[in-house]
Amino acid sequence: MSTTRLTLEQALHLALHQALRRDPDVLLLGEGVATKHRDWVAEFGAERVRNTPLAEAIIAGTAVGAAASGLRPVIDLLFAPFMAYAMDALVNSAGKLRYLSGGQFSFPLVALGMSGSGWGLGAQHNHNLEAMLVHAPGLKVVMPSEPADCIGLLRSAVADDNPIIFLMDIGLLQREGDVPDDPNHAVPLGRAAVRRSGDDLTLVTYGKTVGVCLDAAAALADRGISAEVIDLRTLKPLDEAAVLGSVRRTGRLIAVHEASGLCGLAAELAALAATRAFDALRAPVVRLTGPDAPAAASWVLEQAAVPTPEAVVEAAAALF
C-alpha cells in the first residue's frame, strides 16, 4: 500500500477536501475557511465553503439546523476553548434534541477545534476540555494522534449521523507521518489502537501524549519492563474492550493525558479498571495528568503542566 508523508495539518486538509468531494451534502463553515481554501471555493462553490462571522454560537447553531435538514456540515471553530461560546448549540441542541424529539432528528455534524500545549498561547487557546464534551450526552469526541488516523477518523466522523467533536492537538499539527494514498482509508470511531505491544504494564493515552508514552515505553524496555501503549483515538465512545483486554493481561494501568485530572478521561479509565478488572490488577492504577490550573503562556510553565516520558517512567518503575 503506497503512502505519502504529510503533517497532521496537511492530513486534515486532505481529509476535508476528500469529504467535500465525496458528498455534495458536506459543507465547510467557519471563520476563514474560504479565505484559507480559495481553491475549494472554486472547486465546490461558495455555497459549500463559507466564511462566517467570528461568532462561534451562530456557526455551531447553523450547523445544527443544517445537519437536521439534510446537510452534513463541518465547522471549524479554530481553538477548542472557543467552543465555550458554541456550547448551547453543541450540548443543548445537537446533543439533546435527537433524544428529546424521540428520535425525529439526527445531527450529522463535525466540529473541529485545536487544543493542547506547544504554541505558548495561554489558557484561552490551550485548554484540553475534552472531558467536558465527553460528559455531554449525544456527542462523540475524537482526538487523533497521527496524520493517518486524522484522515481515517475524519472520514468516519463525516459519515456518522451523530454530532462529533474533532479535536486536534496543537503540538502535533506540524508532526509528519505516513498517510495511506487510498482515498477510502477509514478508521472506525470507537476503536483504540495498540501503538506498542507489551506484557507488564498498560499505558492508555491519546493525542500528543501517545508520543510521550511511546518514549517512556522505550525507556522502560531498557529496564526490562514491557509496556503496552494504547491510543484511544476516540474518547467517546470509549473502546472499553481494548483497555480491559490489555489491563487484564498486564495487571497494571497508567492513564496519561495533558487535560486536568479531576473527572477526566484518566479517572474514567481508572474506574473502568477498578470496576471491571479489579481481580486482574497487580498494582494500584496511576493517573498522570495536567494540574487543575489554566495553561500558562510561558514555555517553561506550559511544559511543566504536561506529562513527560520521565514522569511516566518513574510512575511505572514504582509499580514493580
Binding site: D25, E47, R50, T52, P53, A55, A57, I58, A60, G61, T62, A63, V64, G65, A66, A67, A68, S69, G70, L71, P73, D88, A89, N92, S93, L97, R98, Y99, L100, S101, G102, G103, Q104, F105, S106, F107, P108, P137, G138, K140, D160, D161, N162
Partner: protein
Amino acid sequence: MNSSQFAEPAGPPEVRRLETMLLIRAYEERLVALQRGGAPGTCTSVGQEACAVGVVDALDGRDRILTNHRSAGHLLARGADPGRLLAEVLGRVDGYCAGRSGSLHISAAEIGVVLTSTIVGGELSMAPGVALAQHLGRGEPGGIVAVFFGDGAACEGIFHESLNLAVQWRLPLLFVCENNQWQAFVHRRETMADDAIGRWAEGHGLPAARVDGNDVEAVHAAAREAVALIRADGGPRFLELVTYRRRGHFEPDDQAYVDPAELAAWAARDPIDLQRARLLEQRLADAARLEAIEARVARRIEAAAAFAEASPWPAPDTLTDHVYA
C-alpha cells in the same frame, strides 16, 4: 384515536382562525387544570393566540417552523393533534416525542415543526441552518422557514448573530418576535433601553413590520406580505407582534409581580374576543355558529385529554433509546 375524526374547521378563513384560537385557548386551559391536578407544569401562551394563528396560517406545507417553550399555539395552528400533544405533556408514549420532551421542546417533523428549543434563543441559533438547507435545495421547493421567539430571546446575543447571518447570507427566514412584554419574571421595561425590537432588526438591515399581535387579521396580513416577499427574493423578513403574556411564566405562577391594571388592559383586548366581535359585526358568522364552534372545540379537547390519559407510560427499559443515531 387521533383528531382526524373531527372535521377540519370549515368556512371563511376568518372563522377558521377564530376556531384555531379557541382550540389553543381550550387546550392551554386544560393544561392549567391538569397541572393543578399534579401534571407537569407548562408555559402557556394565553393572550398570544393571534400571533401563532395569524402567522402559521400564512405558511403552507412546504414551510418549516422552529419554536420555543411557549409552543402550543404554533403546533396547534399547524395542525398538531391535541391528543398527541397532551400525551407528550403527560410523558406518554403516544406523544409526538414519545414522552421524551414533555411540554417544553415538542417538535413534530411530520407537520414541519422542527428543532424546538426551550433554551431562550436556541431556536434563533438553529434557524439559519434550517433556512440554509432550504436555500441549498434540501427542503421542498419554494419553502421558507419561520422562527418564533420572544422579547426575552431578543435580549440574547444570539438574536443579533442570527439576524446578521440571515441578512448576510440572504436566507429564506421569517423572524417572528412575539413581544409579550415578559421575560420570565422580569418585565421588558427593565431589560431593554428601547421598547421596539423591530428597530434592532432594522439596524441589521432587515426589513421589520410592527403589528398589533392581538389582532389575528392584522397579524395574518403582515405575515402573508412578509412570506410573499421572502418567496419572491429569498431574503429574510422580520415581524414584531406586540402582545402580552396573560398568565405566568410557568404553571403554577401567582403573578404577584404583575401590575393588575396592565394585565386588565390587555385582557380587555383579548384576541379571541376581538375576532368574535369582528365576525359578528362583518356577518361572517352568527351567534349560533360561534356556539357550535365552541362546542366542537370543547369536545375535541375532551377527547384529546381522554386519549392522552389512556396512553401508556414509556417502558423504563427504553430510557436510553434515541440518544445516538
